[in-house]
């Protein structure tokens, strides 16, 4: 199973966290076109390689954070660096 390096709680089993998914910038709902909004909602890069993804540490610190992981080897970038602001869902 995957060991996720939570920036607050340290290495945790992925079962302790919730996988939120690919992390993408959210377009401004007031100015985004319908096409941009649907692309944000549905389209996925789904790379075989490095992926920026959001996790939620549900049974630990209960924070959202963004990590980078190789989807082929399942290795997180070392050292794990939370790329987004903690506590706020990116």
């Amino acid at each position: 199973m995957l060991i996720v390096p939570c920036p607050n709680c340290g290495p945790r089993n992925a079962a302790d966290l919730r996988y939120v998914g690919e992390s993408r910038p959210r377009p401004d709902p007031n100015s985004a076109s319908a096409k941009e909004w649907r692309a944000y909602l549905y389209e996925r890069a789904n790379p075989a390689g490095m992926l920026r993804e959001t996790w939620y540490c549900r049974s630990g610190c209960r924070r959202y954070f963004v990590l980078e992981r190789d989807t082929v080897s399942n290795e997180f970038t070392n050292p794990p660096t939370p790329v987004a602001k903690l506590g706020k869902r990116p």
């Binding site: 199973m1 995957l2 089993n13 992925a14 079962a15 919730r18 996988y19 998914g21 690919e22 096409k35 649907r38 692309a39 909602l41 549905y42 389209e43 996925r44 890069a45 789904n46 790379p47 075989a48 992926l51 993804e53 989807t71 082929v72 080897s73 399942n74």
Partner: protein
């Protein structure tokens, strides 16, 4: 065509054995040409069925199926071989029912023993909420003419005496959706049957041929790819091929192939794990599924219990299994059938699933002319193989989207017309 391969029959088996004749290879290994009318990427049941029906139903035989590994090496050889059509959406039910029809006559159509055992399929309900969903599914099924009904614990016990239908388990069995036409089949035989059938009709299968790029001109994106463009061919590790029609049937790798044409897909790749026990005497005559416990199990003709779970909870292209899966699923299985606790596990494996947001596939034409997709199959691709091939072949031959796959087009995400298929195995009910 030069030489038709011998048909399989008991008489021929005896006569060839008596004359000590060696059986020829099941399909040819033709040299790779540099031009085809249709190139199908992916040599699984979907790709092979598409090629077969192109040749069989529409007379289009200048077709190449490109497979980066060996035929049936992906999900086609890794699924748990369960067939059913008791889905939740009317679109899904009618579609999978057509697939079951094709599976029913497949052994004769393809002259291959695919070992289809229509043994019945029960989906257990462990809560009032899931019992309500089962009633919902049964009614949708009946409206579409599919044989499904809700049965109580006493009837379940008659169908599968090994199941614990008492009130003792953590999640007692309250009822089930009974679907008599469901069953299991030998998935490898289906792949080989389509490959052999397609080969007989003149289609070429090229194994160890990996597509590294798709050539598109006139598109909006970088390099002339993307929406508005037109496919001119593919580049493989064995050379370039020109083709006006390229079909993506690559399941878990679908996003990577579509990216080559500049088409963005709403797909996430996740592994699904399955396992098989040692063979024992037959004791489980039906296929048993429990959405609440995330497990489905059937007993093969050899006597092994094959069981699987839902997809892993995060995206990955890595198909290494995990102890959590084996432990968790085995635990759930024991809750259903406490009597099998001494059975030993033989092996465990995983396959890649191409999950879409609404658990329905992405089929048909894309914004790039000549580039078609038959992807997004998630956890239910195998049972849809024949009908997908038939419908994709029709789409290619007639240049219009057949009604049966209309609801599953890529443009549904632009039209907000999603098809929420909560009858999929990946969904916990």
């Amino acid at each position: 065509m030069k030489q038709r391969p011998p048909r399989y029959s008991a008489a021929r088996l005896v006569s060839r054995a008596a004359r000590k004749r060696v059986w020829p290879r099941v399909w040819r290994e033709a040299p790779l040409r540099n031009s085809y009318d249709v190139v199908v990427i992916g040599g699984g049941v979907h790709g092979l069925a598409t090629a077969y029906y192109l040749a069989a139903n529409h007379g289009i035989t200048n077709v190449a199926v490109l497979e980066k590994s060996y035929l049936g090496s992906g999900g086609s050889g890794r699924n748990t071989a369960i067939l059913r059509s008791n889905y939740l959406t009317p679109e899904g039910v009618i579609f999978y029912d057509r697939s079951l029809d094709l599976y029913r006559t497949m052994a004769i159509d393809l002259n291959m023993n695919v070992m289809f055992s229509r043994r019945g399929h029960i989906t257990l309900a462990h809560s009032d909420a899931s019992l309500r969903t089962m009633h919902w599914r049964a009614e949708v099924n009946k409206l579409q003419g599919v044989d499904s009904s809700v049965i109580g614990p006493a009837d379940i016990k008659k169908l599968a005496p090994v199941l614990d239908t008492s009130s003792h388990p953590r999640y007692p069995i309250l009822g089930a959706l009974y679907h008599p036409p469901g069953g299991i089949i030998r998935h490898d035989a289906v792949v080989w049957g389509y490959a052999r059938g397609a080969d007989t009709l003149g289609v070429e299968m090229h194994q160890k041929t990996e597509v590294v790029d798709i050539k598109v001109t006139g598109g909006d994106g970088p390099g002339g790819k993307g929406p508005g463009g037109r496919v001119t061919g593919v580049r493989t590790n064995r050379g370039d091929i020109s083709a006006p029609v390229v079909v993506n049937c690559t399941a878990g790798w679908a996003s990577l192939i579509s990216d080559m044409a500049g088409v963005k897909l709403p797909i996430s790749t996740r592994p699904l794990q399955a396992a098989v026990t040692e063979p024992v005497k037959v004791f489980l005559p039906v296929v048993v599924v429990s959405g609440t416990l995330h497990v489905y199990v059937s007993q093969t003709a050899r006597g092994e219990l094959v069981f699987g779970a839902s997809v892993d909870p995060y995206n990955t292209y890595n198909i290494r299994g995990s102890l959590e899966f084996t432990e968790g699923t085995a635990g759930h299985l024991l809750e259903l059938m406490p009597g099998i606790s001494r059975m030993r596990l033989l092996r465990q494996w995983a396959g890649l699933c191409d999950m879409t947001p609404d658990y329905s596939p992405v089929m048909g034409f894309t914004p790039v002319e000549g580039f078609l997709c038959d992807v997004g199959w998630g956890t239910y691709g195998f049972k849809a193989g024949p009908v997908s091939g038939e419908q994709m072949a029709e789409a290619i031959a007639t240049q219009r989207t057949p009604d049966l796959i209309g609801p599953f087009s890529l443009s549904r995400f632009e039209r907000d017309a999603l098809v929420g298929e909560k009858g999929a195995a990946a969904v916990g009910h």
